[in-house]
Structure formats: C-alpha cells, structure tokens
Symmetry: C2
Subunit: 208 residues, 2 copies
DNA sequence: ACTGTATTTCAACACTTGTTGATGTCAACA
DNA sequence: TGTTGACATCAACAAGTGTTGAAATACAGT
C-alpha cells in the first residue's frame, strides 16, 4: 500500500505541485509514529507515493526534512502566549483552554507529536523540546504570579498540561482520550489555576 | 571509547561472570538515551566492553534484550499498589510519595526511562507503557474513589504523577529537576489528593 | 522553436544494521 | 584425565540505511 507503481521519470503532465506538502505530511506521520531513527527516508517516500530522491531534492537530507517537520506555526505559540493577558483570576482556565485546544487540531497535533516523540527517542533533540516548553514563554510572565517560587509554579502548570496532552493524544489512555474536551477542561483548569496562583506546598482546605 | 581492544576469544581466566549484568546495564542506558531503533547491538556491546555476539548468546536477539531491559522488579509495582491501603484522606500523599520515590532510585529510573523512551519511539511498544500505567492497578482500587467518574479521577492522578516524573527525570526541566523531592511532594500531593477525592469539574473555592 | 529551470524517477554508492555459524578457551565433574 | 558445557570472540552474511549523480519529462519565457 502507498506504493509508487513505477511511473517513468520526469515531470508528470498536469502535476498539481503539491508533492512537497504530501512529503511533509507523511514525514510528520512517520516521525510521530516511529521516531527519528525508526522512520526511514524510504518509508516516508512510500507513504507519500514518491521516490526517495525527491525528499533529498526538497529538503536536502533527513535532518532537513525533520527540521521542516518541526516548524510550528507561530500562531500556535502566540495562542498560548496570549492566554496570559487578562485577569489573573481566570488565568488557569484561559491557559488550559489555549494549550489543550492546540492539540485538538489534527494538523498541529502531528507537528507536536513528532517533536515529542523524536525528542524522547534522540537525546540531542530533548533540548529542543525543553526550549519549546519553556522558552516559548518569556520571563515576563513570571511577574504575574505570586512571589513565592513562581518558577516552580509555571513549571508545574505547563508540565501538567503537557502531560495531559501526552496521555490524551500520544498514549491515548482511554480515560483521557475518550472524553470530550470540555469535560477535561473543567477537571484540569482548576488545578492549573491552583498551581499558578493558589497556595503552594500546603494541603488544600476540605471542600466537601 | 568503550571499545573491546580485541582480547582473543574464549572464556577468560577468572571471569567474574558478571558480563550479563554489564550488558543489561549498558542496554538500559542506550535504550533510554536513543530509543529502540537508535540503540544498536554494536553500540550496546561497545558500551558493555563485549562482543556483539555475546548479546545474542544471552538474550537471543534484540527484542529479547529489550524485553529483559524492561523487566521491573515486582517490588516496584507493589510499592505503588500498597499506597492504596490506608485512610483515603491521605491517599494522595501516600501515592505521590510512593510513585515519585520509585524514580529516585537510579537503577529503577533506568528501567523506567527505557520503557518510556522506547514506548514513544516505537508505536507498538506504547501498548506496554499503557499497560504499565494502568493495568498495574487492578480495578478494585476504583471502588475506593468517589462515585462520579472514578475512572477519570485515577487517570488524572496517575497521569499527573507520570508527567512530573517525565519532566524531572527525562526532560530534566530545571524547575523540576533541581528541586529536592520533599518540595515537589508538598506541591504535588495535594493535587493528586484533589483528583482522587476532591470535587471534580468545579473550580476550587478561593483559599487566599 | 529554443533555452533554461523545476520536477521526478532511476541506479548505484558506501556504510550500518541484526543475525548466524564456526572456533577458541576456561571451569567443573566423572 | 578426559569430557562436557558455559563463556566469549571472530568473520561473514543478507538486508536495509542515507546519500548522490545522472537522466527523463514538462513547463515558462523568449
């Protein structure tokens, strides 16, 4: 399946010129499914219905293709970044909504999955993921949070959201993957808000 | 580096018989660092200071070696399992302590890292991680939790702990990795308790 | 019609991969 | 002392890897 049944070489007549995008999509899928090493040039080419050499033609080499795969639309980062504007009282809710919505878009989720998967598989790439998790949010957001250990607060909140996305979209834990987004939002947002602005390191008061 | 400088074949005199363990340790390290595909038989053999064929001798093939790498001491599972015995009021605290302590043991962390890393890199292996996250805890623990959506409660709690361990030990996010365990416990345990037994899907009451 | 350029496949390369069979060496036991 | 079996390396295999140079076809501009 997905094989290119040996069309003869040369530019095809009436070519739609969208092979480049097809390659990128296939690459995202393969990288996300099998990691950097596991996804081979040939498997990607086959999935895209294209010869291997075409990948090299467009992206230079495997690293280039991988890099192209990881490019996130700047709009995505802005969406999370923008969640910090507004009243601090509902910051957790806005941030949770912004971040988890990101992963609901199938196209974007492909990029994100590819990043995460490969970051875990290749030690060198973890740097990139770390950057994407932290550096995306400059330090000036720290000033919005309570004075005690704002660094830890932000890390706990983002790490929690990241973990939820992982369980829902990559691990596909049934309890997380089969729920509608609003249910998840309602459950998680208060926790994020708690990490960002609530009392840290003390048990929460009984609320029964 | 790590090369075997061509000792001649045959059983060495006074062999300590611990080559098998050395191979396992090296394999865990390599698998955790580079994933299943990324870690090669030869790189593992080199890291263990041993010929490639010796891996096959002990573990059959790469899959066998990988499987041997993932074997967790049953004591580990029991430790988490045992945290569910006791008053429900401090269940979150006990579970958080039990789970995060697991990852503090360097030897065990190697196994766990290898499982996670490879699970993300190889789609087929995700099943195994899913099992290790969920099936380790039989359903009878669900009866301990409040009636509304105990499934989601348990998933959120365990997924959160898993995420924290990931950020601390694999991603090594500074804010999580550089803290002492008690600080982390104090911050996370209340949240876990909240997910397990607190009100779900409602914002928490103000506690300033 | 001619010329350049972008697109696409073909064919082969040098290298690495996991695996296997043969061989050598030591330790234990009759 | 001889035999047996576990330990360990060597050498080579077929298959798969990323990459590269060449050629074939179509399109755009003159």
């Amino acid at each position: 399946m997905g094989e290119k049944d040996s069309e003869r070489p040369g530019r095809p007549p009436g070519g739609d010129g969208r092979n480049r995008d097809r390659i990128l999509a296939a690459a995202r899928h393969e990288f996300a499914a099998k990691g950097f090493r596991g996804a081979t040039m040939r498997s990607i080419a086959a999935a895209a219905g294209v010869d291997v050499a075409l990948l090299a033609h467009y992206f230079g080499n495997k690293d280039g293709l991988f890099a192209a795969t990881l490019q996130l639309p700047g709009q995505a980062v802005q969406q999370v970044r923008g969640a910090f504007d507004g009243p601090v009282g509902e910051l957790g809710e806005r941030l949770t909504l912004a971040y988890l919505s990101l992963w609901e878009d199938p196209g974007l989720a492909g990029s994100l999955s590819a990043t995460v998967t490969s970051a875990f598989a290749h030690e060198g790439a973890r740097e990139q993921l770390r950057a994407q998790l932290t550096a995306a949010l400059p330090e000036d957001v720290l000033s919005l949070l309570p004075g005690d250990d704002p660094d830890l607060r932000l890390a706990l909140a983002l790490n929690h959201l990241f973990g939820i996305a992982l369980g829902r979209h990559l691990l596909r834990l049934p309890a997380l993957a089969d729920r509608d987004l609003p249910v998840l939002l309602a459950a998680v947002a208060p926790t994020v808000q708690h990490y960002l602005a609530g009392p840290l390191g003390r048990p929460e008061p009984a609320t029964t």
